[in-house]
Protein backbone atom coordinates (compact mmCIF):
# COMPACT_ATOMS: atom_id res chain seq x y z
CA UNK A 1 0.00 0.00 0.00
CA UNK A 2 1.17 3.53 -0.62
CA UNK A 3 1.94 5.46 2.52
CA UNK A 4 3.22 8.93 3.15
CA UNK A 5 6.69 9.24 4.63
CA UNK A 6 5.39 9.96 8.13
CA UNK A 7 2.84 7.17 8.02
CA UNK A 8 5.67 4.84 7.09
CA UNK A 9 7.88 5.95 9.95
CA UNK A 10 4.99 5.66 12.43
CA UNK A 11 4.13 2.14 11.26
CA UNK A 12 7.77 1.06 11.42
CA UNK A 13 8.08 2.42 14.95
CA UNK A 14 4.89 0.66 16.06
CA UNK A 15 6.05 -2.61 14.50
CA UNK A 16 9.43 -2.40 16.22
CA UNK A 17 7.84 -1.56 19.57
CA UNK A 18 5.42 -4.47 19.38
CA UNK A 19 8.21 -6.86 18.38
CA UNK A 20 10.34 -5.71 21.31
CA UNK A 21 7.43 -6.19 23.73
CA UNK A 22 6.85 -9.73 22.46
CA UNK A 23 10.58 -10.46 22.64
CA UNK A 24 10.95 -8.88 26.07
CA UNK A 25 10.53 -12.04 28.19
CA UNK A 26 13.43 -13.58 26.28
CA UNK A 27 15.70 -10.57 26.78
CA UNK A 28 14.70 -10.49 30.41
CA UNK A 29 15.62 -14.16 30.87
CA UNK A 30 18.98 -13.59 29.18
CA UNK A 31 19.74 -10.62 31.42
CA UNK A 32 18.71 -12.53 34.53
CA UNK A 33 20.98 -15.40 33.55
CA UNK A 34 23.95 -13.01 33.62
CA UNK A 35 23.23 -11.65 37.11
CA UNK A 36 23.92 -13.02 40.56
CA UNK A 37 20.90 -14.48 42.35
CA UNK A 38 20.93 -11.39 44.55
CA UNK A 39 20.94 -8.92 41.66
CA UNK A 40 18.19 -10.85 39.93
CA UNK A 41 15.71 -9.69 42.60
CA UNK A 42 16.57 -6.02 42.42
CA UNK A 43 13.87 -3.64 41.32
CA UNK A 44 14.15 -1.38 39.46
CA UNK A 45 16.36 -3.79 37.57
CA UNK A 46 19.79 -3.14 36.13
CA UNK A 47 19.43 -3.43 32.39
CA UNK A 48 22.82 -3.20 30.77
CA UNK A 49 25.45 -5.88 31.33
CA UNK A 50 29.08 -4.78 31.34
CA UNK A 51 31.97 -7.20 31.12
CA UNK A 52 33.09 -8.50 34.47
CA UNK A 53 36.62 -7.77 35.65
CA UNK A 54 36.48 -10.28 38.42
CA UNK A 55 37.12 -13.94 37.88
CA UNK A 56 34.08 -16.20 37.98
CA UNK A 57 35.32 -17.82 41.18
CA UNK A 58 35.30 -14.52 42.99
CA UNK A 59 31.71 -13.97 41.92
CA UNK A 60 30.68 -17.36 43.16
CA UNK A 61 32.05 -16.43 46.58
CA UNK A 62 30.13 -13.23 46.42
CA UNK A 63 26.91 -15.22 46.22
CA UNK A 64 27.42 -16.54 49.69
CA UNK A 65 29.15 -13.57 51.20
CA UNK A 66 26.42 -11.57 52.90
CA UNK A 67 28.66 -8.68 53.84
CA UNK A 68 29.69 -7.97 50.28
CA UNK A 69 26.10 -8.04 49.17
CA UNK A 70 24.98 -5.61 51.83
CA UNK A 71 27.70 -3.27 50.75
CA UNK A 72 26.64 -3.63 47.16
CA UNK A 73 23.07 -2.76 48.01
CA UNK A 74 24.18 0.45 49.67
CA UNK A 75 25.66 1.63 46.44
CA UNK A 76 22.11 2.25 45.23
CA UNK A 77 20.60 1.71 41.83
CA UNK A 78 22.72 1.45 38.74
CA UNK A 79 21.50 0.68 35.26
CA UNK A 80 24.70 -1.29 34.69
CA UNK A 81 25.57 -4.62 36.20
CA UNK A 82 28.59 -6.83 35.90
CA UNK A 83 27.82 -9.78 33.68
CA UNK A 84 28.75 -13.13 35.13
CA UNK A 85 28.81 -16.53 33.50
CA UNK A 86 28.84 -18.22 36.88
CA UNK A 87 25.21 -19.35 36.46
CA UNK A 88 26.08 -21.09 33.21
CA UNK A 89 28.99 -22.78 34.91
CA UNK A 90 26.77 -23.84 37.76
CA UNK A 91 24.07 -25.10 35.38
CA UNK A 92 26.50 -27.19 33.36
CA UNK A 93 28.76 -28.53 36.10
CA UNK A 94 26.75 -28.57 39.32
CA UNK A 95 23.11 -28.85 38.30
CA UNK A 96 23.17 -32.16 36.36
CA UNK A 97 22.48 -30.47 33.06
CA UNK A 98 24.68 -32.87 31.11
CA UNK A 99 22.64 -36.04 31.33
CA UNK A 100 19.32 -34.57 30.18
CA UNK A 101 21.15 -32.75 27.40
CA UNK A 102 22.66 -36.00 26.13
CA UNK A 103 19.28 -37.72 26.43
CA UNK A 104 17.63 -34.97 24.41
CA UNK A 105 20.35 -35.12 21.76
CA UNK A 106 20.13 -38.92 21.44
CA UNK A 107 16.33 -39.01 21.36
CA UNK A 108 16.06 -36.11 18.92
CA UNK A 109 18.72 -37.20 16.46
CA UNK A 110 17.91 -40.91 16.38
CA UNK A 111 14.14 -40.44 16.15
CA UNK A 112 14.53 -37.89 13.35
CA UNK A 113 16.87 -40.20 11.47
CA UNK A 114 14.51 -43.19 11.69
CA UNK A 115 11.52 -41.02 10.77
CA UNK A 116 13.34 -39.86 7.63
CA UNK A 117 14.36 -43.43 6.82
CA UNK A 118 10.75 -44.64 7.03
CA UNK A 119 9.11 -41.50 5.72
CA UNK A 120 11.12 -40.64 2.60
CA UNK A 121 10.45 -43.91 0.73
CA UNK A 122 6.77 -43.64 1.63
CA UNK A 123 6.67 -40.03 0.42
CA UNK A 124 8.40 -41.17 -2.77
CA UNK A 125 5.82 -43.87 -3.35
CA UNK A 126 2.91 -41.57 -2.62
CA UNK A 127 4.26 -38.78 -4.82
CA UNK A 128 5.44 -40.72 -7.87
CA UNK A 129 3.45 -43.95 -7.79
CA UNK A 130 0.07 -42.94 -6.42
CA UNK A 131 -2.89 -45.29 -6.62
CA UNK A 132 -6.52 -45.20 -5.56
CA UNK A 133 -5.67 -45.57 -1.89
CA UNK A 134 -2.94 -42.92 -1.73
CA UNK A 135 -5.32 -40.12 -0.87
CA UNK A 136 -6.86 -42.10 1.94
CA UNK A 137 -3.40 -43.01 3.24
CA UNK A 138 -2.34 -39.37 3.31
CA UNK A 139 -5.44 -38.22 5.14
CA UNK A 140 -5.18 -41.12 7.59
CA UNK A 141 -1.61 -40.04 8.31
CA UNK A 142 -2.89 -36.58 9.26
CA UNK A 143 -5.29 -38.14 11.71
CA UNK A 144 -2.41 -40.03 13.35
CA UNK A 145 -0.35 -36.84 13.60
CA UNK A 146 -3.29 -35.00 15.13
CA UNK A 147 -4.16 -37.74 17.59
CA UNK A 148 -4.35 -36.10 21.03
CA UNK A 149 -1.37 -37.42 23.04
CA UNK A 150 -3.60 -37.68 26.12
CA UNK A 151 -5.83 -40.11 24.22
CA UNK A 152 -3.09 -42.73 23.96
CA UNK A 153 -0.90 -42.00 26.97
CA UNK A 154 -2.47 -44.66 29.20
CA UNK A 155 -1.79 -47.63 26.89
CA UNK A 156 1.60 -46.21 25.86
CA UNK A 157 2.59 -45.99 29.50
CA UNK A 158 1.37 -49.52 30.26
CA UNK A 159 2.94 -50.97 27.10
CA UNK A 160 6.22 -49.23 27.86
CA UNK A 161 6.08 -50.58 31.39
CA UNK A 162 5.38 -54.15 30.28
CA UNK A 163 8.07 -54.04 27.59
CA UNK A 164 10.63 -52.55 30.01
CA UNK A 165 10.81 -49.41 27.89
CA UNK A 166 9.76 -47.08 30.68
CA UNK A 167 12.40 -44.44 31.43
CA UNK A 168 14.56 -45.48 28.46
CA UNK A 169 15.69 -43.40 25.51
CA UNK A 170 14.61 -46.31 23.26
CA UNK A 171 11.01 -45.90 24.43
CA UNK A 172 11.11 -42.17 23.71
CA UNK A 173 12.70 -42.73 20.30
CA UNK A 174 9.90 -45.15 19.34
CA UNK A 175 7.22 -42.62 20.30
CA UNK A 176 8.89 -39.58 18.70
CA UNK A 177 9.52 -41.48 15.48
CA UNK A 178 5.76 -42.08 15.35
CA UNK A 179 5.19 -38.38 15.93
CA UNK A 180 7.50 -37.44 13.06
CA UNK A 181 6.78 -40.01 10.33
CA UNK A 182 3.51 -38.33 9.16
CA UNK A 183 5.28 -34.97 9.13
CA UNK A 184 8.13 -36.35 7.02
CA UNK A 185 5.74 -38.01 4.57
CA UNK A 186 3.58 -34.93 4.06
CA UNK A 187 6.47 -32.49 3.80
CA UNK A 188 8.69 -34.65 1.61
CA UNK A 189 5.77 -35.51 -0.66
CA UNK A 190 5.07 -31.82 -1.20
CA UNK A 191 8.73 -31.21 -2.06
CA UNK A 192 8.91 -34.29 -4.31
CA UNK A 193 5.84 -33.16 -6.25
CA UNK A 194 7.81 -30.05 -7.24
CA UNK A 195 10.47 -32.14 -9.00
CA UNK A 196 9.96 -31.66 -12.76
CA UNK A 197 8.61 -34.84 -14.31
CA UNK A 198 10.92 -34.47 -17.36
CA UNK A 199 13.95 -35.11 -15.21
CA UNK A 200 12.56 -38.35 -13.87
CA UNK A 201 11.43 -39.40 -17.33
CA UNK A 202 14.91 -38.78 -18.73
CA UNK A 203 16.42 -40.87 -16.00
CA UNK A 204 14.00 -43.69 -16.63
CA UNK A 205 14.80 -43.73 -20.31
CA UNK A 206 18.45 -44.05 -19.37
CA UNK A 207 17.42 -46.97 -17.20
CA UNK A 208 18.65 -45.83 -13.83
CA UNK A 209 17.64 -47.85 -10.80
CA UNK A 210 15.32 -46.37 -8.21
CA UNK A 211 18.18 -45.75 -5.81
CA UNK A 212 20.23 -44.03 -8.53
CA UNK A 213 17.20 -42.00 -9.52
CA UNK A 214 16.82 -40.81 -5.96
CA UNK A 215 20.50 -40.27 -5.28
CA UNK A 216 21.48 -38.45 -8.48
CA UNK A 217 18.28 -36.90 -9.86
CA UNK A 218 15.91 -36.22 -7.00
CA UNK A 219 18.09 -35.64 -3.96
CA UNK A 220 19.96 -32.60 -5.29
CA UNK A 221 16.62 -30.96 -6.04
CA UNK A 222 14.91 -31.72 -2.74
CA UNK A 223 17.96 -31.30 -0.49
CA UNK A 224 16.80 -27.97 0.99
CA UNK A 225 13.38 -29.48 1.66
CA UNK A 226 14.95 -32.55 3.21
CA UNK A 227 17.06 -30.34 5.45
CA UNK A 228 14.00 -28.36 6.53
CA UNK A 229 12.05 -31.55 7.21
CA UNK A 230 14.80 -32.95 9.41
CA UNK A 231 15.14 -29.68 11.24
CA UNK A 232 11.43 -29.48 11.94
CA UNK A 233 11.33 -33.04 13.28
CA UNK A 234 14.19 -32.10 15.58
CA UNK A 235 12.42 -28.96 16.79
CA UNK A 236 9.26 -30.93 17.61
CA UNK A 237 11.17 -33.71 19.38
CA UNK A 238 13.40 -31.30 21.24
CA UNK A 239 10.46 -29.35 22.67
CA UNK A 240 7.95 -32.16 23.34
CA UNK A 241 6.91 -32.48 26.97
CA UNK A 242 3.79 -34.59 27.51
CA UNK A 243 5.15 -37.99 26.43
CA UNK A 244 8.58 -37.29 27.87
CA UNK A 245 7.13 -36.35 31.23
CA UNK A 246 4.96 -39.46 31.51
CA UNK A 247 7.36 -42.02 30.03
CA UNK A 248 10.70 -40.97 31.57
CA UNK A 249 12.01 -40.51 35.09
CA UNK A 250 15.58 -39.86 36.20
CA UNK A 251 17.43 -42.09 33.71
CA UNK A 252 16.10 -41.00 30.32
CA UNK A 253 14.68 -37.58 31.19
CA UNK A 254 15.23 -35.06 28.39
CA UNK A 255 15.74 -31.32 28.86
CA UNK A 256 12.03 -30.47 28.82
CA UNK A 257 11.44 -32.67 31.86
CA UNK A 258 14.63 -31.49 33.55
CA UNK A 259 13.59 -27.85 33.17
CA UNK A 260 10.14 -28.59 34.58
CA UNK A 261 11.82 -29.60 37.84
CA UNK A 262 12.49 -25.90 38.47
CA UNK A 263 8.72 -25.55 38.82
CA UNK A 264 8.80 -25.60 42.60
CA UNK A 265 12.13 -23.81 43.02
CA UNK A 266 10.14 -20.61 43.33
CA UNK A 267 12.44 -17.63 43.32
CA UNK A 268 15.39 -19.28 44.96
CA UNK A 269 17.40 -19.93 41.84
CA UNK A 270 16.01 -17.48 39.34
CA UNK A 271 19.39 -16.71 37.80
CA UNK A 272 20.46 -20.35 37.63
CA UNK A 273 17.09 -21.30 36.18
CA UNK A 274 17.40 -18.58 33.54
CA UNK A 275 20.86 -19.83 32.56
CA UNK A 276 19.69 -23.45 32.31
CA UNK A 277 16.64 -22.34 30.30
CA UNK A 278 18.79 -20.35 27.91
CA UNK A 279 21.09 -23.31 27.33
CA UNK A 280 18.14 -25.65 26.81
CA UNK A 281 16.49 -23.57 24.11
CA UNK A 282 19.55 -22.19 22.34
CA UNK A 283 20.14 -24.92 19.72
CA UNK A 284 16.53 -25.00 18.57
CA UNK A 285 16.12 -21.24 18.54
CA UNK A 286 19.20 -20.81 16.38
CA UNK A 287 18.18 -23.65 14.08
CA UNK A 288 14.72 -22.11 13.77
CA UNK A 289 16.13 -18.68 12.91
CA UNK A 290 18.07 -20.18 10.04
CA UNK A 291 15.14 -22.22 8.78
CA UNK A 292 12.55 -19.42 8.92
CA UNK A 293 11.57 -19.80 5.28
CA UNK A 294 10.90 -23.53 5.55
CA UNK A 295 9.16 -23.21 8.88
CA UNK A 296 5.80 -22.37 7.30
CA UNK A 297 5.89 -25.38 4.99
CA UNK A 298 6.79 -27.59 7.90
CA UNK A 299 4.24 -26.25 10.33
CA UNK A 300 1.41 -26.85 7.88
CA UNK A 301 2.82 -30.23 6.79
CA UNK A 302 3.37 -28.86 3.32
CA UNK A 303 -0.15 -27.42 2.93
CA UNK A 304 1.21 -23.89 2.65
CA UNK A 305 4.42 -22.98 0.88
Amino acid sequence: MRLSKWQGITLTTITWLLALIIFFPIVWTLLTSLKTEREAFNFPPSLIPIPSFQSDDAELDEDTDEATEEAEEDEGYSIFFEATFANYERAIFDADFGKPLINTLVITIVSTFIALLLGIPAAYGLAFKPDKRSNFTLLWLISTRMLPPAGVIVPLFLLARDLSLLDTTTGMIIIYTGMNVPLVIWMMRSFLLDVPYDILEAGRIDGVTLLQEFRYLVLPLVAPGLFATGLLCMIFSWNEFFFAFNITKSQAEPLTVYISSFKTGRGQFIALMSAASTLAVLPVVIAGWFAQKQLVTGLTMGAVK
Binding site: M1, P121, G151, I153, S260
Partner: protein
Protein backbone atom coordinates in the same frame (compact mmCIF):
# COMPACT_ATOMS: atom_id res chain seq x y z
CA UNK B 1 23.92 -39.36 -13.10
CA UNK B 2 25.39 -42.61 -14.20
CA UNK B 3 24.54 -43.79 -17.66
CA UNK B 4 23.86 -47.51 -17.76
CA UNK B 5 24.00 -49.93 -20.65
CA UNK B 6 21.13 -52.10 -19.52
CA UNK B 7 17.97 -51.60 -21.54
CA UNK B 8 15.13 -50.33 -19.50
CA UNK B 9 11.77 -51.97 -19.64
CA UNK B 10 10.23 -48.64 -18.74
CA UNK B 11 10.84 -47.30 -22.22
CA UNK B 12 8.45 -49.86 -23.61
CA UNK B 13 4.77 -49.94 -22.96
CA UNK B 14 4.15 -51.37 -19.51
CA UNK B 15 3.51 -55.09 -19.61
CA UNK B 16 1.59 -57.04 -17.04
CA UNK B 17 4.81 -58.08 -15.32
CA UNK B 18 5.84 -54.46 -14.99
CA UNK B 19 2.55 -53.54 -13.45
CA UNK B 20 3.02 -56.21 -10.83
CA UNK B 21 6.57 -55.16 -10.03
CA UNK B 22 5.44 -51.55 -9.93
CA UNK B 23 2.77 -52.47 -7.41
CA UNK B 24 5.32 -54.43 -5.40
CA UNK B 25 7.70 -51.50 -5.48
CA UNK B 26 5.02 -49.10 -4.31
CA UNK B 27 4.11 -51.41 -1.48
CA UNK B 28 7.67 -51.92 -0.32
CA UNK B 29 8.16 -48.16 -0.32
CA UNK B 30 4.99 -47.25 1.54
CA UNK B 31 4.24 -50.14 3.85
CA UNK B 32 7.15 -49.95 6.32
CA UNK B 33 6.01 -46.47 7.35
CA UNK B 34 2.35 -47.48 7.43
CA UNK B 35 3.01 -50.56 9.54
CA UNK B 36 5.11 -48.52 11.94
CA UNK B 37 2.36 -45.93 12.29
CA UNK B 38 -0.28 -48.62 12.85
CA UNK B 39 1.81 -50.13 15.64
CA UNK B 40 2.59 -46.90 17.47
CA UNK B 41 -0.76 -45.12 17.03
CA UNK B 42 -3.60 -47.49 16.15
CA UNK B 43 -2.65 -50.28 18.55
CA UNK B 44 -2.56 -47.91 21.56
CA UNK B 45 -5.83 -46.46 20.31
CA UNK B 46 -7.47 -49.88 20.43
CA UNK B 47 -6.12 -50.40 23.92
CA UNK B 48 -7.58 -47.07 25.04
CA UNK B 49 -10.90 -48.19 23.62
CA UNK B 50 -10.70 -51.49 25.48
CA UNK B 51 -9.68 -49.92 28.81
CA UNK B 52 -12.49 -47.40 28.48
CA UNK B 53 -14.94 -50.29 28.75
CA UNK B 54 -13.41 -51.59 31.97
CA UNK B 55 -13.64 -50.76 35.63
CA UNK B 56 -9.94 -50.64 36.41
CA UNK B 57 -8.25 -48.65 39.11
CA UNK B 58 -4.59 -49.54 39.58
CA UNK B 59 -5.01 -49.07 43.33
CA UNK B 60 -7.64 -51.84 43.32
CA UNK B 61 -6.54 -54.22 40.54
CA UNK B 62 -8.61 -57.04 42.08
CA UNK B 63 -11.83 -55.23 41.17
CA UNK B 64 -10.93 -54.99 37.49
CA UNK B 65 -13.92 -55.97 35.36
CA UNK B 66 -15.59 -55.36 32.01
CA UNK B 67 -18.34 -52.83 32.58
CA UNK B 68 -19.39 -51.84 29.05
CA UNK B 69 -20.37 -48.22 28.64
CA UNK B 70 -20.59 -47.49 32.38
CA UNK B 71 -17.48 -45.29 32.35
CA UNK B 72 -18.84 -43.21 29.50
CA UNK B 73 -22.03 -42.50 31.43
CA UNK B 74 -20.18 -41.93 34.71
CA UNK B 75 -17.84 -39.44 33.11
CA UNK B 76 -20.46 -37.32 31.35
CA UNK B 77 -22.79 -37.27 34.34
CA UNK B 78 -19.98 -35.91 36.50
CA UNK B 79 -20.35 -32.15 36.83
CA UNK B 80 -16.59 -31.58 37.00
CA UNK B 81 -16.20 -33.17 33.56
CA UNK B 82 -18.31 -30.37 32.10
CA UNK B 83 -16.23 -27.78 33.92
CA UNK B 84 -13.18 -29.39 32.34
CA UNK B 85 -14.77 -29.37 28.87
CA UNK B 86 -15.74 -25.75 29.46
CA UNK B 87 -12.15 -24.88 30.45
CA UNK B 88 -10.85 -26.68 27.37
CA UNK B 89 -13.18 -24.66 25.12
CA UNK B 90 -12.47 -21.35 26.87
CA UNK B 91 -8.70 -21.87 26.65
CA UNK B 92 -8.76 -23.07 23.04
CA UNK B 93 -11.32 -20.49 21.88
CA UNK B 94 -9.63 -17.54 23.57
CA UNK B 95 -6.15 -18.51 22.38
CA UNK B 96 -7.22 -19.09 18.78
CA UNK B 97 -9.20 -15.85 18.65
CA UNK B 98 -6.49 -13.68 20.22
CA UNK B 99 -3.62 -15.25 18.27
CA UNK B 100 -5.64 -14.75 15.09
CA UNK B 101 -6.11 -11.03 15.74
CA UNK B 102 -2.49 -10.54 16.86
CA UNK B 103 -1.09 -12.84 14.17
CA UNK B 104 -2.98 -11.03 11.42
CA UNK B 105 -1.89 -7.65 12.79
CA UNK B 106 1.76 -8.67 12.85
CA UNK B 107 1.49 -10.27 9.42
CA UNK B 108 0.02 -7.06 7.97
CA UNK B 109 2.69 -4.96 9.66
CA UNK B 110 5.44 -7.21 8.34
CA UNK B 111 4.05 -7.29 4.81
CA UNK B 112 5.85 -4.11 3.78
CA UNK B 113 9.44 -3.07 3.35
CA UNK B 114 10.96 -1.33 6.34
CA UNK B 115 14.25 -1.05 8.18
CA UNK B 116 15.09 -4.21 10.07
CA UNK B 117 12.18 -6.25 8.74
CA UNK B 118 14.17 -9.49 8.90
CA UNK B 119 15.19 -8.81 12.49
CA UNK B 120 11.62 -8.00 13.55
CA UNK B 121 10.40 -11.21 11.96
CA UNK B 122 13.09 -13.16 13.76
CA UNK B 123 12.20 -11.55 17.10
CA UNK B 124 8.52 -12.33 16.57
CA UNK B 125 8.88 -16.02 15.70
CA UNK B 126 11.22 -16.80 18.59
CA UNK B 127 8.54 -17.51 21.25
CA UNK B 128 7.31 -20.38 19.08
CA UNK B 129 10.76 -22.00 18.97
CA UNK B 130 11.26 -21.98 22.72
CA UNK B 131 10.32 -25.19 24.47
CA UNK B 132 6.92 -24.76 26.14
CA UNK B 133 8.26 -25.87 29.52
CA UNK B 134 10.88 -23.12 29.44
CA UNK B 135 8.29 -20.52 28.47
CA UNK B 136 6.06 -21.67 31.29
CA UNK B 137 8.87 -21.68 33.87
CA UNK B 138 10.09 -18.26 32.81
CA UNK B 139 6.62 -16.71 32.83
CA UNK B 140 5.81 -18.29 36.16
CA UNK B 141 8.99 -17.49 38.08
CA UNK B 142 10.59 -14.57 36.31
CA UNK B 143 7.58 -12.56 35.16
CA UNK B 144 4.43 -13.43 37.13
CA UNK B 145 5.72 -14.49 40.55
CA UNK B 146 4.11 -12.25 43.22
CA UNK B 147 7.37 -11.65 45.13
CA UNK B 148 10.03 -11.75 42.43
CA UNK B 149 8.26 -11.46 39.10
CA UNK B 150 9.07 -8.51 36.87
CA UNK B 151 5.44 -7.86 35.89
CA UNK B 152 4.27 -8.06 39.50
CA UNK B 153 6.91 -5.57 40.55
CA UNK B 154 6.05 -3.35 37.63
CA UNK B 155 2.38 -3.24 38.69
CA UNK B 156 3.47 -2.69 42.28
CA UNK B 157 5.80 0.16 41.34
CA UNK B 158 2.97 2.17 39.75
CA UNK B 159 1.14 2.05 43.05
CA UNK B 160 -1.25 -0.89 42.72
CA UNK B 161 -1.34 -3.70 45.28
CA UNK B 162 1.00 -6.56 44.37
CA UNK B 163 -0.92 -8.86 42.07
CA UNK B 164 -0.73 -12.65 42.30
CA UNK B 165 -1.47 -13.25 38.63
CA UNK B 166 -1.53 -17.04 38.71
CA UNK B 167 -3.52 -17.16 41.95
CA UNK B 168 -6.06 -14.45 41.15
CA UNK B 169 -6.41 -14.83 37.39
CA UNK B 170 -5.22 -18.37 36.69
CA UNK B 171 -7.04 -18.95 33.39
CA UNK B 172 -6.20 -15.49 32.05
CA UNK B 173 -2.54 -16.07 32.91
CA UNK B 174 -2.48 -19.44 31.17
CA UNK B 175 -4.18 -17.91 28.12
CA UNK B 176 -1.64 -15.08 28.00
CA UNK B 177 1.29 -17.51 28.10
CA UNK B 178 -0.16 -19.79 25.41
CA UNK B 179 -1.04 -16.78 23.25
CA UNK B 180 2.55 -15.59 23.54
CA UNK B 181 3.75 -19.00 22.32
CA UNK B 182 1.29 -19.41 19.45
CA UNK B 183 0.99 -15.94 17.93
CA UNK B 184 4.08 -16.59 15.74
CA UNK B 185 2.43 -19.71 14.28
CA UNK B 186 -0.59 -17.72 13.09
CA UNK B 187 1.61 -14.84 11.94
CA UNK B 188 3.90 -17.02 9.83
CA UNK B 189 1.09 -18.75 7.96
CA UNK B 190 -0.90 -15.56 7.38
CA UNK B 191 2.25 -13.76 6.26
CA UNK B 192 2.88 -16.52 3.70
CA UNK B 193 -0.69 -15.89 2.50
CA UNK B 194 -0.24 -12.13 2.30
CA UNK B 195 2.94 -12.50 0.30
CA UNK B 196 1.05 -14.41 -2.37
CA UNK B 197 -1.37 -11.48 -2.76
CA UNK B 198 -0.52 -9.30 -5.73
CA UNK B 199 0.40 -5.70 -5.06
CA UNK B 200 -1.34 -4.61 -8.27
CA UNK B 201 -4.65 -5.77 -6.87
CA UNK B 202 -4.15 -3.82 -3.67
CA UNK B 203 -3.03 -0.68 -5.43
CA UNK B 204 -5.88 -0.83 -7.90
CA UNK B 205 -8.40 -0.98 -5.08
CA UNK B 206 -6.67 1.88 -3.34
CA UNK B 207 -6.90 4.00 -6.45
CA UNK B 208 -10.57 3.09 -6.65
CA UNK B 209 -10.89 4.83 -3.30
CA UNK B 210 -11.48 1.84 -1.02
CA UNK B 211 -10.52 2.56 2.58
CA UNK B 212 -8.07 0.29 4.42
CA UNK B 213 -10.84 -1.44 6.34
CA UNK B 214 -12.70 -2.31 3.14
CA UNK B 215 -9.52 -3.55 1.51
CA UNK B 216 -8.95 -5.81 4.49
CA UNK B 217 -12.54 -7.00 4.60
CA UNK B 218 -13.18 -7.55 0.89
CA UNK B 219 -9.78 -8.30 -0.61
CA UNK B 220 -7.25 -9.42 1.98
CA UNK B 221 -9.39 -11.69 4.17
CA UNK B 222 -11.07 -13.51 1.25
CA UNK B 223 -7.66 -14.07 -0.32
CA UNK B 224 -6.34 -15.41 2.97
CA UNK B 225 -9.31 -17.72 3.52
CA UNK B 226 -7.50 -20.98 2.92
CA UNK B 227 -4.50 -19.89 4.98
CA UNK B 228 -6.78 -18.83 7.81
CA UNK B 229 -8.64 -22.14 7.71
CA UNK B 230 -5.45 -24.19 7.83
CA UNK B 231 -3.85 -22.07 10.56
CA UNK B 232 -6.97 -21.96 12.74
CA UNK B 233 -7.76 -25.67 12.46
CA UNK B 234 -4.20 -26.79 13.13
CA UNK B 235 -3.91 -24.44 16.06
CA UNK B 236 -7.19 -25.72 17.53
CA UNK B 237 -5.79 -29.25 17.40
CA UNK B 238 -2.58 -28.26 19.12
CA UNK B 239 -4.22 -26.05 21.77
CA UNK B 240 -6.77 -28.74 22.65
CA UNK B 241 -3.78 -30.78 23.85
CA UNK B 242 -1.98 -28.07 25.84
CA UNK B 243 -0.43 -29.67 28.90
CA UNK B 244 3.03 -28.39 29.85
CA UNK B 245 2.05 -24.79 30.55
CA UNK B 246 -0.83 -25.85 32.80
CA UNK B 247 1.23 -28.46 34.61
CA UNK B 248 4.00 -25.99 35.37
CA UNK B 249 2.09 -22.81 36.15
CA UNK B 250 -1.10 -23.91 37.93
CA UNK B 251 -1.20 -27.75 38.05
CA UNK B 252 -4.77 -27.38 36.88
CA UNK B 253 -5.84 -25.27 39.84
CA UNK B 254 -6.88 -23.56 41.93
CA UNK B 255 -9.33 -26.44 42.29
CA UNK B 256 -9.95 -27.42 38.69
CA UNK B 257 -10.18 -23.87 37.37
CA UNK B 258 -7.47 -24.38 34.75
CA UNK B 259 -7.80 -28.14 34.20
CA UNK B 260 -8.32 -28.91 30.54
CA UNK B 261 -9.06 -32.32 29.05
CA UNK B 262 -5.38 -33.27 28.60
CA UNK B 263 -4.52 -32.35 32.15
CA UNK B 264 -7.61 -34.13 33.51
CA UNK B 265 -6.63 -37.35 31.71
CA UNK B 266 -3.11 -37.14 33.09
CA UNK B 267 -4.47 -36.51 36.57
CA UNK B 268 -7.01 -39.33 36.35
CA UNK B 269 -4.43 -41.82 35.08
CA UNK B 270 -1.40 -40.95 37.18
CA UNK B 271 -2.82 -39.42 40.38
CA UNK B 272 -6.12 -41.27 40.80
CA UNK B 273 -4.64 -44.21 38.90
CA UNK B 274 -8.05 -44.83 37.36
CA UNK B 275 -7.21 -46.43 34.02
CA UNK B 276 -10.85 -46.95 33.06
CA UNK B 277 -12.01 -43.36 33.51
CA UNK B 278 -8.79 -41.90 32.10
CA UNK B 279 -9.20 -44.00 28.96
CA UNK B 280 -12.84 -42.97 28.64
CA UNK B 281 -11.85 -39.32 28.80
CA UNK B 282 -9.13 -40.17 26.27
CA UNK B 283 -11.79 -41.45 23.89
CA UNK B 284 -13.78 -38.23 24.34
CA UNK B 285 -10.62 -36.25 23.58
CA UNK B 286 -10.04 -38.31 20.44
CA UNK B 287 -13.63 -37.79 19.28
CA UNK B 288 -13.30 -34.05 19.85
CA UNK B 289 -10.02 -33.88 17.92
CA UNK B 290 -11.39 -35.99 15.09
CA UNK B 291 -14.31 -33.63 14.54
CA UNK B 292 -11.73 -30.90 13.91
CA UNK B 293 -9.58 -33.22 11.78
CA UNK B 294 -12.63 -34.03 9.63
CA UNK B 295 -13.11 -30.33 8.86
CA UNK B 296 -9.38 -29.97 8.23
CA UNK B 297 -9.45 -32.86 5.74
CA UNK B 298 -12.32 -31.18 3.89
CA UNK B 299 -10.27 -27.99 3.62
CA UNK B 300 -7.25 -29.90 2.27
CA UNK B 301 -9.44 -31.83 -0.20
CA UNK B 302 -11.03 -28.66 -1.51
CA UNK B 303 -7.57 -27.18 -1.90
CA UNK B 304 -6.33 -30.04 -4.03
CA UNK B 305 -9.49 -29.97 -6.17
CA UNK B 306 -9.07 -26.27 -6.79
CA UNK B 307 -5.48 -26.97 -7.76
CA UNK B 308 -4.05 -24.87 -4.96
CA UNK B 309 -0.90 -26.17 -3.31
CA UNK B 310 -1.62 -29.43 -1.57
Amino acid sequence: MTPTTSTSSRTEKPKRGDQISDKLLRRSLIWPAIIYMIIVTQVPLLFTLRFSLERWNMNRPDRRAFTGLDNFIDVITDASFWTIIGNTFVLTGAVVLITFVLGLTFALLLNREFIGRGIVRTLLITPFLIMPTVSAIVWKNVLLDPSFGFLSKLVESVGFPTPDFLGQYPMVSVIVIVVWQWTPFMMLILLAGLQSLSHEQLEASQIDGANPFHILRYIVIPHLRRYIEIAVLMEILFILSVFGVIFITTTGGPGIQTTNLSYAIYDEAFSSRDIGDASTMGIYAIILANIVVAVFVQVLRRGSEEGVTT
